[in-house]
Amino acid sequence: MKLLIKGGRVIDPAQGIDKPLDVLIEKGRIASLIQPASRVRPAMDKVKTIDATGCIVAPGLIDMHVHFREPGFEHKETIESGCAAAAAGGFTSVCCMANTNPVNDNQAITLMIIAQAQKANGVRVYPIAAATVGQNGEAATEIGELKTAGAVALSDDGNEIRNSQVARLVLEYASMFDMPVILHCEDMYLSQGGQVNEGFVSTELGLPGIPNAAEESMVARNLILAEMTGAPIHIAHVSTAGSVDLIRWAKARDVRVTAEATPHHLTLTEKAVRGYNTQCKMSPPLRSEQDRIAVLTGLADGTIDAVATDHAPHDDRLKIVEFDKAANGVIGLETALGLMLRLVRQGQLDLPTLIQRMSTAPARIMGLPGGSLAVDQPADVVVFDPEQEWTVDAMCLRSRSHNTPFDGWSLPGVIKATIVNGRIVHSG
């Protein structure tokens, strides 16, 4: 069966395309990009057509940082419900973090995640394996075997690798297998007990603060280790101006570093926590307006390579509690594109750059298919109307958890179709 996406504005940063084109999909692959005026039309009898008038047609979004909670916390999210949320948000591929229970630090869990994903809706799921056994920061995992099983990167996620020698060994060893190491940068001594960004808001609320230095000192260490080892590292959820500067410095020295920022850090500041809103409790914490602008500037100029949601489902039992007892994290798959499109509307970013940061760049960093609409590439495509508004209703999202600070927000960007491997996995 052929699929023709007709009448849309095709944006494919990988090929430098931004113009009206029709996209023909055949046998799960991009068959051709057709000039709308062209007389060369596919035979229409066996073609399903998607009318993309007024819509953007782009390579499917790729989220390189999600938490699908399976195995271990299926009441928060399963791979199946996570994939439904991903498709609804325009994502065709996701990389899921290793902090499951048991931790994905061995081949069996990696294979199990892949097997569960095959039963879901078709969104591509790539496991990220733990960098150290049990994410304890003590001994490297069997990186070669994990790669063979299908893991695409390594990360201890929310845990820093505190021991610098272990971090060095992981980087050196992983680089043999071309596995990027994703680093959560937080000096746990500096952030210990911290609940929110250290600043006026933490003082007002009487909550222990997490200084920018907790992130920046660890970013600096990791950049220096990356330079020393020559291994590729990826800095997860950058939140401070100082981190952006450090990454910029490292890139100028040709350190193999990439970085991501989340839609919530690009949208909200510490002020959102006022009133003890646990939906805004996250790690790293929401920072100051100055930090937010710096991260956004870094995203626009390419210092920050990618947007990742850090989709972190938690049930009410962990969110409707005292602030200092609440879990960190917010869900993000279904609101990411809308929040980013708001920034486009505000003139902070242009659409091709946005698509590049949400699709092309994550594909390149993680070495995944997708991220481009080039002919013969797998047909992973998103079609969305960038102007149409919708209202976030936390309870109606596909994720099993509803922990979002954006409940009730009106966001631009309605997903018309999410297509994976030529198959429509979500249509709106």
């Binding site: 250290e198 003082t203 609320l205 009487g206 909550l207 222990p208 039992r317 509690v321 602030f323």
Partner: protein, 312 residues
């Protein structure tokens, strides 16, 4: 006459008129304490629940006495003997208590913001009796009543608050209340105990006690929480006492009539020497007396005043 609010969660958002109303009402309740029969029927038939998640003898007792002097039925609920130990969440505990239809809940909790969460969840009024390192409004109100008693006013005075400002709910509430009433506020303590950007609350920051108390009208000492020393905020208590303790020698830097306050319980020889704690200018015990009057005022004003006066 009543406060036009359901809850009293802090002094951050309170108006000058509201503070005056509370202090004036407290003034009128003060004399009940010296009566032979220390009881009026103002809150007869009202139920007040003291919900204490942190041990606190003085604040709980003060609220209990205040409620009883107004003839309210006061029920004490302390977390250690409750279902909290069985894993019940705060919201569930609260919903259960609310189902018993109290008129007011007085809550003390170790987590900043817990009373705010509760106030959103329940219909009845909530008084914050101290939440983490956030606010302790009734303490600040009694401090303000004390200052007004001794100095006749708050407007135009200079007050120095000395100690662990970072972890002090008393300091935050006093900063809000005192600055709102027109006082100048200084805070003083080791750098490790001064929270980020506190100047933005309209206070001046000092690290030298002599300079901090120079020329002030009121010195408010805070309790050093001995258990927090493990956090390495201080090299030692001895070091703290030597550099930040209020001693007869140090106090010479202050105005001769400077009033000394302390929310208690005091650590003699740490933040305050015995000589200073027991001197004429120390109002530490008078504060406790005023505490009952202020809490009577809060209970009275938040329950809408006299409930069933016709029955008398």
């Amino acid at each position: 006459m009543r406060l036009n609010r359901k809850d009293l969660l802090g002094l951050e958002d309170i108006a000058v008129d509201e503070i005056k109303l509370i202090l004036d009402t407290a003034d009128s309740f003060k004399e009940f304490g010296s009566r032979i029969i220390k009881k009026v029927p103002a809150l007869r038939g009202k139920t007040v629940v003291n919900l204490f998640y942190e041990p606190s003898t003085r604040t709980r007792t003060s609220f209990e006495i205040a409620g009883k002097r107004l003839s309210a039925d006061v029920v004490n609920f302390s977390a250690s003997q409750s279902s909290v130990g069985k894993g019940e969440t705060l919201i569930d505990t609260m919903k259960n208590i609310e189902a018993m239809q109290p008129d007011l809940i007085v809550v003390r909790h170790g987590s900043a913001g817990a009373p705010h969460m509760l106030a959103r969840m329940v219909e009845c009024g909530v008084i914050n009796a101290g939440d983490g390192a956030h606010e302790h409004p009734s303490q600040a109100l009694l401090d303000m009543l004390m200052i007004r008693d001794v100095k006749g006013r708050i407007n135009g005075l200079t007050v120095a608050i000395i100690g662990d400002i970072s972890h002090s709910r008393v300091a935050r509430s006093n900063i809000y209340g005192l600055t709102r009433m027109g006082a100048r506020v200084r805070v003083c303590g080791p750098k490790t105990m001064i929270p980020a950007q506190i100047e933005r609350m309209g206070v001046e920051v000092f690290h030298d006690v002599r300079k901090a108390i120079s020329g002030v009208d009121v010195i408010m000492m805070l309790r050093i929480q001995l258990e927090r020393q493990a956090g390495a905020l201080l090299p030692s208590l001895r070091e703290y006492a030597r550099h930040f303790g209020l001693t007869p020698e140090i106090i010479k830097a202050a105005k001769p009539d400077a009033t000394i306050l302390h929310p208690g319980p005091i650590n003699r020889g740490v933040e305050i020497s015995s000589e200073v704690a027991d001197c004429q200018r120390s109002m530490i015990l008078n504060q406790v007396t005023n505490g009952v009057a202020v809490r009577m005022a809060l209970l009275y004003l938040l329950t809408g005043g006299a409930g069933d006066e016709t029955a008398d």
